[in-house]
């Protein structure tokens, strides 16, 4: 009973937020000086007559009052029509269907790398706090936090592509089922860049969670039973540290969707971040609006999933 209520409340909040996001995006795009027509037609727009421009505006619905445009757009989205790209004529839905899986694959890779690097580093750090080992691990973490993704990406690409003459990303993007090997190679460097950024906060969270849990009574009980150190580390300490670690991973996954914009651009990965960027550079209202909406939805879904994951990890949460 309590569970149902909480889930319903979370969903309600999420819906309100999503609507708010839609409004915000809509408003932002409309504030742009120079509207979609002139942007997409470029110089040609200057050669058209006022009447022709008006006709185009009417066709695209830009001459209607703002709130009507907004509701019009929302109802279209609800019925599955996410708009059409001016340039290519392709529906945004189709574009997204192609680009979203790419970003998801990248995000999963990056998260895997981030966790594989961050958690063990955090455990090493916590094993002997304030020692040289700890300081070393923390330094690596700090460096990871401070090197911007675009710099690391540019650096990596330069060194690997130019110096080592290895650039799988120069070839067209390969889908996993077309050419798995090439696909994985293409994903590798962007995933490393994003994973590196992810690893730092995960490492910090792991370290502080472990230190906190280690001082708790039940760890002393386990030691008092004669349990082996390995089992204590994993089954008692790490297991109980998972909640903050999972929380942090979820948050970082959200940031990753933002960082993906830059990384996808550097490595020419046709993901949803790149879709957003190109849409923005070309002032495509439909593309940008729908893309941002989808990204925000993704973000909310990640939060919900993290919430659900808690219930699996910590049985105390289940009882409400």
């Amino acid at each position: 009973m309590i569970r149902g209520k909480r889930v319903a409340r979370t969903l309600a909040e999420a819906t309100v937020t999503l609507v708010g996001v839609a409004v915000l995006v809509f408003v932002m795009m409309r504030v742009v000086p120079g509207d979609q027509i002139t942007a997409s037609l470029g110089i040609e727009a200057g050669n058209m007559t006022e009447a022709q421009i008006d006709a185009l505006r009417a066709y695209y619905g830009i001459d209607q009052p703002l709130h009507e445009q907004f509701f019009g757009w929302i109802s279209e989205v609800a019925s599955g029509n996410l708009g059409v790209s001016q340039r290519t004529g392709q529906s945004v839905l189709e574009m997204t269907a192609n680009s979203l899986p790419v970003t998801i694959e990248l995000a999963l890779f990056a998260t895997l790398l981030g966790v594989l690097i961050g958690v063990p580093l955090g455990m090493i750090s916590a094993s002997r706090p304030n020692s040289r080992r700890d300081a070393g691990a923390q330094f690596v973490g700090l460096a990871a936090l401070s090197v911007p993704s675009f710099l690391l990406g540019a650096l990596l690409l330069t060194i690997v592509a130019r110096v080592l003459r290895y650039n799988p990303n120069a070839m067209g993007y390969a889908r996993p089922f077309e050419d798995l090997s090439l696909n994985l190679q293409q994903m590798l460097m962007p995933a490393i860049v994003l994973g590196f950024a992810l690893a730092a906060p995960i490492m910090r969270t792991t370290r502080s969670a472990i230190l906190e849990v280690r001082s708790q009574d039940f760890v002393r009980t386990a030691i008092g039973k004669g349990v082996s150190p390995m089992r204590i580390q994993i089954r008692h300490v790490l297991h109980n540290s998972l909640v903050p670690i999972v929380t942090m991973t979820g948050i970082q996954l959200g940031y990753l969707l933002g960082g993906a914009v830059v990384v996808e651009q550097i490595f020419s990965v046709p993901g949803i971040g790149r879709q957003f960027l190109i849409g923005m550079q070309q002032k495509e209202y439909a593309v940008v609006q729908s893309t941002v909406l989808i990204i925000a939805l993704l973000f909310l879904l990640v939060n919900l999933a993290t919430d659900l994951l808690y219930r699996v990890i910590d049985p105390r949460v289940r009882s409400g």
Binding site: V31, R162, G258, Q265, G273
Partner: protein, 296 residues
């Protein structure tokens, strides 16, 4: 309300000593390095701001292009013959300008809304929560990108875009302590005794959340610098010809294989700056931690 009661009440509420905080900061390793590194970078920015760079960052000298580091050009020159060192220094200044303004705006507005939300309760809190959630629903970089692209491009609009993205953090960070402060005995007593809300706010609440705000300001500075750099990398930051660290890295992308200094210099400056700010933030957080009070 006797003078004594007022004095007692105000004495009951003592925020951490500023003097010992400074000393603790100087004593910690992260505090020391944080101050040193940020100091160096700030020094460079200051020099550039007063025009004390070795060369003019903007003027081109095509005859000297793509020279490696030498005595004449300490960090080499770029594609247009511009001195990389001078450009890096100018880049720091422009980064700093954007970051300081952005963080100032978001700190002031965010703290204002956060304190209001914590102090005044439900009518304010509902819509504020909704707004904060909406802003939080975007990955920060994405939001900054979108905001930066909608207005005419100059450094101020970039700063405002970043500010808007980071307001929610300040709201969240200041709301919680205000909520718990509201329940403390001396605040309750103050209200019962008829202290005006303003007096309570300014003399009791604000000084107590000041340490938290300071730490968050330092952290937000480092994010702001990173975000501004990412924006300028994507071509959405401070417009040329003002040098910006991010766009310098972008320009260097195709050159770096042969002219490594074009990417190394802005990159290194950026890293040193951010590392310094992060260390400073950590050091401040430890120094201001009330748990350290007992050992002072």
């Amino acid at each position: 309300m006797s003078v004594n009661e007022v004095a007692w009440l105000e004495a009951e509420d003592t925020p951490p000593q500023r003097e010992s905080t400074w000393r603790r900061l100087l004593a910690s390793r992260s505090g020391q390095w944080g101050l040193i590194l940020t100091g160096i970078v700030l020094g460079l920015a200051l020099l550039s701001a007063i025009g004390a760079t070795p060369y003019d960052p903007i003027s081109q000298r095509p005859e000297d292009r793509l020279q490696g580091p030498s005595l004449a050009y300490l960090l080499g020159t770029d594609l247009f013959g511009r001195d990389v060192l001078s450009r890096s220094m100018a880049g720091v200044t422009s980064s700093l300008q954007v970051a300081v303004v952005a963080v100032f705006i978001s700190a002031v507005l965010g703290t204002f809304f956060g304190v209001a939300s914590g102090f005044y309760g439900n009518r304010v809190r509902g819509p504020l929560n909704a707004l904060t959630n909406i802003l939080f629903a975007f990955p920060p970089l994405l939001l900054a990108l979108a905001l930066a692209s909608v207005a005419t491009r100059n450094w101020f609009t970039v700063a405002v875009a970043i500010a808007i993205v980071y307001i929610p953090i300040f709201v969240r960070v200041t709301r919680a302590p205000v909520l718990s402060l509201r329940e403390t005995d001396f605040i309750k007593a103050a209200r019962v005794l008829g202290f005006s809300s303003n007096r309570i706010l300014f003399r009791h609440v604000l000084p107590n959340i000041l340490p938290i705000v300071i730490v968050q300001v330092t952290l937000s500075m480092s994010w702001a610098v990173l975000t501004a750099a990412a924006l300028s990398y994507l071509g959405l930051g401070t417009p040329p010809p003002t040098p910006a660290l991010g766009s310098m890295v972008f320009e260097a992308k195709n050159l770096a294989a042969t002219a490594w200094w074009t990417m190394a210099a802005p990159g290194l400056v950026l890293i040193v700056f951010v590392v310094g700010l992060n260390l400073l933030g950590d050091g401040l957080r430890d120094a201001l931690d009330p748990r350290n009070e007992s050992n002072a």
